[in-house]
């Protein structure tokens, strides 16, 4: 089996007159932690959201585990089960308890029985230190807790890759740490991850590869040391000087 989990070929996305992605070709290998950075409007979120087809690409192909998921004949729901996604605004289900939030998809999609899903959810909650919140509703949690639950909800499906779309951008500063800590643990456990973020500390410390996007393209990518110490692209230099 190929070690390439996701292969993106010449991905383009056009919104009306606006070409947001102008042809992206890259891949994500198993175990990689790819951190995607770039100025706002650079297309990084659109790129990430294209990977599980929350955005339908205008052109290009995406292979996930060797299957062309951009082919309309592919059952995308089946593949999405293997691609966890964490959103900026958590998107927990407000009408369900924390436990129900986590067990809903595995049970409905018949990956587990109710009992198995509950057991798994409790294990995961224990791991993130939120077992006591199992019967609470999302509204009763802090932002950091919500985001950790959102991560757990994705993990309950046993995904092969986790996509993070600015997971700490909506958090109060004092809560960013707990979410990044959990993501670090995941990376440490070998989870394949693609992370759009502004947290450069996280990129330096955890990423196996950093990708700089600008104007709908990948302008530069590389290992974090090299990437941050010796940036080549002019726009990247400019970007880094502004935020570091």
């Amino acid at each position: 089996m190929s070690d390439k989990l996701i292969e993106v070929k010449n991905l383009r996305k056009v919104f009306g007159e606006n070409e947001v992605l102008t042809g992206i070709t890259t891949d994500i290998k198993r175990g990689e932690v790819v951190v995607i950075i770039g100025p706002s409007g650079s297309g990084k979120s659109t790129f990430l959201r294209s990977l599980n087809l929350l955005e339908t690409p205008t052109a290009g192909t995406i292979l996930f585990e060797g299957v062309n998921i951009t082919d309309p004949k592919t059952d995308i729901d089946l593949h999405r089960q293997k691609m966890g996604m964490v959103f900026q605004h958590f998107n927990l289900f407000p009408h369900k308890t924390i436990l129900e939030n986590i067990t809903l998809a595995p049970v409905v999609l018949k990956k587990m029985t109710k009992e198995e899903a509950k057991k798994k959810a409790e294990e995961l909650l224990e791991r993130v230190g939120l077992l006591d919140k199992a019967d609470a509703y999302p509204e009763q949690l802090s932002g950091g807790q919500k985001q950790r639950i959102a991560i757990v909800r994705s993990l309950a499906m046993d995904p092969d890759v986790m996509l993070f779309d600015e997971p700490t951008s909506a958090l109060d500063p004092e809560m960013v740490g707990e979410v990044l800590e959990l993501m670090k643990q995941l990376a440490h456990d070998g989870m394949t991850m693609a992370v759009v973020t502004h947290e450069m500390g996280f990129a330096k410390e955890v990423a196996t590869r950093v990708v700089f996007m600008d104007e709908g393209q990948i302008k530069e990518q590389g290992k974090p040391e090299e990437f941050f110490e010796h940036p080549k692209d002019v726009r990247l230099k400019e970007f880094l000087s502004k935020i570091l």
Partner: protein, 229 residues
């Protein structure tokens, strides 16, 4: 006072006239329930078609049919609709007018319910759909398990409002020969030549019905709300 009790006797007690009001109330309730069930069913289907079309651009023909239905039903008087239903559509049918009335009111109410439910679906943030779909749930699973429960909660007050309107609107079923509460009051009036007593009685009963409904719906609403915060 003696005058009042004499009138009360003549309008309600004599010849068991109150029984007419009871039978009328039954008709009102039956027609309302028929219309409510049909209305919610139609409304729900239309709302789903319209939302699905808005989101994906599919269902073009069904969406056009839905919009035509909404325009016509909301643009013409209920009275005309019920008369057309009775005299034209079921003109040669022997179907009971209590059924015909239920169908006519149901089709009418469905148009309003459809827009209420659609606004409810639109009130649920897009992120909820994305969260559901990203977990691998299908469109309909996401709709049923995540969007509709939240939408329902958001539009419950508007739905109750529509139910109240519906209860009172059934008063015109008398025009197609059904003896509902209003018609029963008018029948008493035609016997006793006293309009005030029977109409007041009918009004009080409608009011009680609406208050009862509101009471239970408030309870339901509170129960649904306790889930959050």
């Amino acid at each position: 006072m003696a005058d009042f009790s004499a009138k009360f006797y003549a309008n309600f007690i004599k010849d068991d006239r109150w029984l007419g009001l009871v039978t009328g109330l039954k008709v009102t309730i039956i027609v309302t329930i028929e219309a409510l069930l049909l209305g919610v069913l139609i409304g729900f289907i239309i709302a789903i078609i319209r939302s699905y079309h808005d989101k994906t651009g599919k269902f073009k023909i069904l969406n056009a049919v839905s919009r035509f239905y909404l325009t016509v039903i909301r643009g013409t008087p209920t009275m005309i609709q019920i008369l057309i239903m009775y005299l034209v559509v079921f003109g040669s049918s022997s179907l009971d007018s209590i059924i015909i009335g239920g169908i006519a009111f149901g089709i009418n109410s469905g148009a309003y319910v459809a827009e209420i439910i659609r606004s409810g679906i639109m009130s649920v943030p897009e992120g909820q759909t994305e969260a559901g779909r990203s977990l691998g749930l299908s469109y309909s699973q996401t709709m049923w398990l995540i969007i509709v429960p939240q939408a329902f909660k958001n539009v419950l007050p508007a739905l109750v409002n529509e139910m109240i309107v519906l209860i009172k609107e059934t008063a015109i079923i008398g025009y197609i020969g059904e003896q509902d509460l209003t018609k029963a009051a008018m029948i008493i009036q035609s016997r006793t030549f006293d309009a005030f007593m029977p109409l007041l009685a009918a009004a009080v009963i409608y009011l009680a019905l609406v208050m009862l409904l509101t009471f239970f719906m408030n309870k339901l609403e509170r129960r649904l709300r306790t889930n959050e915060r």
